[in-house]
Amino acid sequence: MPKDEYTSRDFKVVGTRPIRPDGIEKVTGKARYGADISAPGMLWGAILRSPHAHARIKGIDTSKARAMKGVKAVITRADFTHQPEDSGMADILDNCMAGDKARYDGHAVAAVAATSKSIARAALAAIEVDYEVLPHVTDVDEAMKTGAPVVEPGRQQESVPEGYCENVTGRSQYGHGDPESGFEQADLIVERSFKTAATHQGYIEPHACLATLDSDGQGDLWVCTQGHYMVRNVCAGVLGLDAGQLRVTASEIGGGFGGKTHVWMEPTALMLARKSGKPVKLVLSRDEVFRATGPTASSSVDVKIGMTSEGKITGATATYRLQAGAYPGGIAFLSAMCGFAPYDLENVRTEGFEVMTNRPKAAAYRAPGAPMGAYPVESVIDELCQKLDLDPLETRLKNAAREGTRSSYGPTYPAIGLEATLEAAKSHPHWSAPLGENQGRGVACGFWFNFGGDTCVSLMVNPDGTVSLSEGNPDIGGSRASMTMMAAEELGVPLDQVRTIIADTASLGQNEVTDGSRVTFAVGLATIKAARHAIEIMKERAAMTWGIDPEAVDWRDGAAHPAGPNAGKFPPMTIKEIAAIASNTGGPIAGHHEVNAEGAGVSFATHMVDTEVDPETGAVKVLRYTVFQDAGKAVHPDYVEGQFQGGAAQGIGWAINEEYIYGDDGRLQNAGFLDYRIPVASDLPMIEPVILEIPNPGHPYGVRGVGETSIVPPLAAIANSVSRAAGVRLTSLPMSPPRVLAALKAQ
């Protein structure tokens, strides 16, 4: 295939908008999600959680719970006798079930399995835990101070210079040139500090699983997750099982956004199943989801940017401090990499600090680190534009990264789509629409890497010529549709001749989790390659039938054709005809492809938003929103648009109302959808998606991941819009009404 087939190819299926293949079961309530299946003899699991932010566990008395009728198993950390060697696995185990101390409000300390939900709940209430409450710290800046309560000593990496509090576990720096000399060339320098609150992914489906685990080490797990292979590997590692003995099946998944790329409670369910000898269903409550599954990090950031009066950025620095929660790790390095990534800068330096706090372990959330990377940078650029009386889109174009630009995180860019998004924004009617009183328009850019990773796909040609496609990544937002389309495109068969399923861990090789916007790119790539593999086999079978050389067979429109007049005169053999004689020509026909798909293309977006600020109450209303993003090639444009709209909506929530609120006691005060305020339908306008297609050379169809970039620009776009509407620069998220009103009054 020519390398530029995505530009020359006349797509028949890709780029159309068919109804998704899993649609009917999802609109009729038949689709089975994490909590939707049961097993004969099943027990109900429940988890007891720490009410303290930081406490030594001196003892746990489970005798009363164990004595209760209907209680079949009670477990604590003592039941997890396998001690993982790998520190990452050990941390996951400790997070699933606290060891010597509870590290955050909501940390699991014990669990039960009982014959009914109500008995399980009553049993939890009968467990007595003897806590010694320890000093705690939940704020990232407080946690960095010397003398702050240390969450866990001895976890500092070699990258952290001496003198930092032990809560600071990691540090990274990126950039090039000399920002100080860059600042000297600037006509104006703006330096500001910003804060963003921790936000939760807010998927509507709480974590749920159904586990069995027998004394012979064989187990089955049905679970809602973004990666059932990851769940298998982690559960095996944590419990000391053989991965091959544990089969994990991914249920339908009710949203994840990164929050279901981690293991939070599945080992607990397996341990309850092992101890009780029964299947155990474990479903978290919404309260537990908020308290004990990871939100993203809160951040505290300092940014300094110098600009000439013509709008050229001469120097730029940023320091990111992100809270990682109760275990080492963190994503400040990603903020440090992504913040200035849209720009072509001579002098730039960023630094990221990973900081432990007494909060749940921070988890991935859609382009992790990138939104809080972009927000302070894009805010300061906007302020510079305001003060220098410059057009914010032209100024971004003037500094925009393009092919050949050395990025702020190091590598030189290949062909990228940032300028295209800015140009599209400039010429869109939204940009020139009039604004009313107390209204403002904000723009911001965003960047995300996109990933590939381990991927397996199997494509079976059935005896009747229909096709079964097995992939190993849960369908979180329409990916079955995309895979079915790519397989149909490649094979040249109608869409309804292909059915795609998500295989369990015993049916297909290792697959990386559904993350990093990798699925349409990497699984799509493997699907195309698996189809091509099957086509090669079918060409061989046709060649054998015709008695010619396989090289002399072409594949088009779902059939084998003689390649030319020299190949001989044979009527085409359709996939159906080839399949019908498969037993006679060598046996079943199946293509497959296994790959670590590296080299995914980076992605850029520009967002534009109008808001209105009520000057008397500080309330912010989003009036109009437009997303401009490069999709490489939109396989199913409806679902690409959906990713743009969904990311923007989550960004709007993050910008205006969502936040983890901790009390002085270190406890989470708003562990529910009532006071953790994600946008409701009446909060939002229509969100206009503008798809740009700058092909990714790393994919046969030019596909780029699209799932994550859309959450990167909204924080800043809205902050810029609100700041312009209010006439005062907002530097702290969320821009909730009390904050906006206070800023207005302080003017």
């Binding site: 709940r121 209430a125 309260d287 008397e616 109450t617 500080g618 309330a619 205006i656 109302n657 609120i661 005060q669 708003n670 959808f673 009532l674 006071d675 305020r677 946008p679 409701v680 009446s682 909060d683 909730s736 009404p737 009390p738 009103l741 206070a742 009054k745």
Partner: protein
């Protein structure tokens, strides 16, 4: 826990009187949340929705009697009630989502005794009364007499609210309720304000009731706020005075939903805006408004 379904008020009173740990279930939108969270563990749930008289809206003495089991959605669909007391009906219509409105009741909102209850300031402004049935018979109490603190009421053992009465709407009067929430729906009021007022023949305000929600442990019925309006035509100066009085009267706290400063500011803003709506509904004109 038992589940009881009395079909008469007397049965309900008897059940309640016999079991101090029993709880009344009307719409259940607060009760079930607390039950599930383990905050309460009643010995019995007494569902009042099978008591016919508690499920109807009826006219009485020119006013409206609303059964304690009537969901707010039903009030919103009642054109005549809405025409008389739009502020009260709107306040009930603001409680939670469509789904919540299908269940939540005025009486439940009142007896839950939250200072942020949306319908309570509107009912207070409207001079609503609650009819209480108990072992000693029935009594009518002004709505402001029911909540005594956060989650606490003046109801005695064996008593329950059977209905809310909204009196006959005076001529040239209007009511309004506004609340502030961070989103457009689904939130608990950060601040609320209910106002009911009556105009005289000259278009001056002859009577006014102003109630402030979520700015004290119980809803404040503010005479000082009412005084800023009475005798005026609701001009800008009067409305500014009302806003200042409301802010002064508010004794809020800092919590996850708002700050003291924010609540004190915004209660004034809402009072002003609610007063304008009430004046317009009463047939008057407000300063600067057309």
């Amino acid at each position: 826990m038992r589940f009881e379904t009395p079909t008469s008020v007397d049965q309900a009173v008897a059940l309640l009187a016999a079991d101090p740990e029993a709880r009344v279930l009307a719409g259940g939108t607060d009760l079930l949340v607390r039950l599930r969270a383990g905050q309460i563990a009643p010995s019995a749930i007494i569902d009042i929705k099978r008591i016919r008289e508690m499920t109807v809206i009826s006219q009485e003495d020119g006013g409206w009697r609303i059964g304690a089991a009537v969901p707010s959605a039903e009030m919103n669909e009642h054109a005549a009630l809405k025409a008389d007391w739009p502020g009260v009906v709107e306040s009930a219509d603001l409680i939670g989502s469509t789904q919540i409105q299908g269940r939540a009741t005025l009486a439940g909102n009142l007896c839950n005794a939250s200072p942020a209850a949306d319908s309570v300031p509107a009912m207070m402004a409207a001079r609503a009364t609650a009819r209480i049935a108990g072992p000693d018979g029935t009594r009518d109490v002004a709505v402001e007499g029911i909540p005594t603190g956060v989650g606490k009421t003046s109801l005695e053992k064996g008593e329950l609210v059977t209905s809310i009465f909204l009196p006959a709407k005076p001529a040239h009067s209007g009511d309004a309720y506004l609340r502030f929430i961070p989103r457009t729906e689904m939130d608990i009021a950060v601040v609320g304000c209910g106002i009911s007022l009556t105009l005289d023949d000259q278009g001056k305000i002859s009577d006014a009731r102003v109630a402030l929600g979520a700015v004290a442990p119980t809803v404040i019925l503010s005479q000082s706020c009412a005084d800023t309006l009475i005798g005026t035509a609701g001009d800008d100066a009067a409305l500014d005075a009302l806003a200042a009085a409301a802010s002064a009267e508010a004794k809020p706290i800092d919590d996850k939903r708002g700050t003291i400063a924010f609540r004190k500011d915004v209660v004034g803003v809402l009072a002003k805006r609610a007063a304008k709506i009430a004046i317009t509904r009463a047939g008057g004109k407000t300063g600067g408004e057309t």
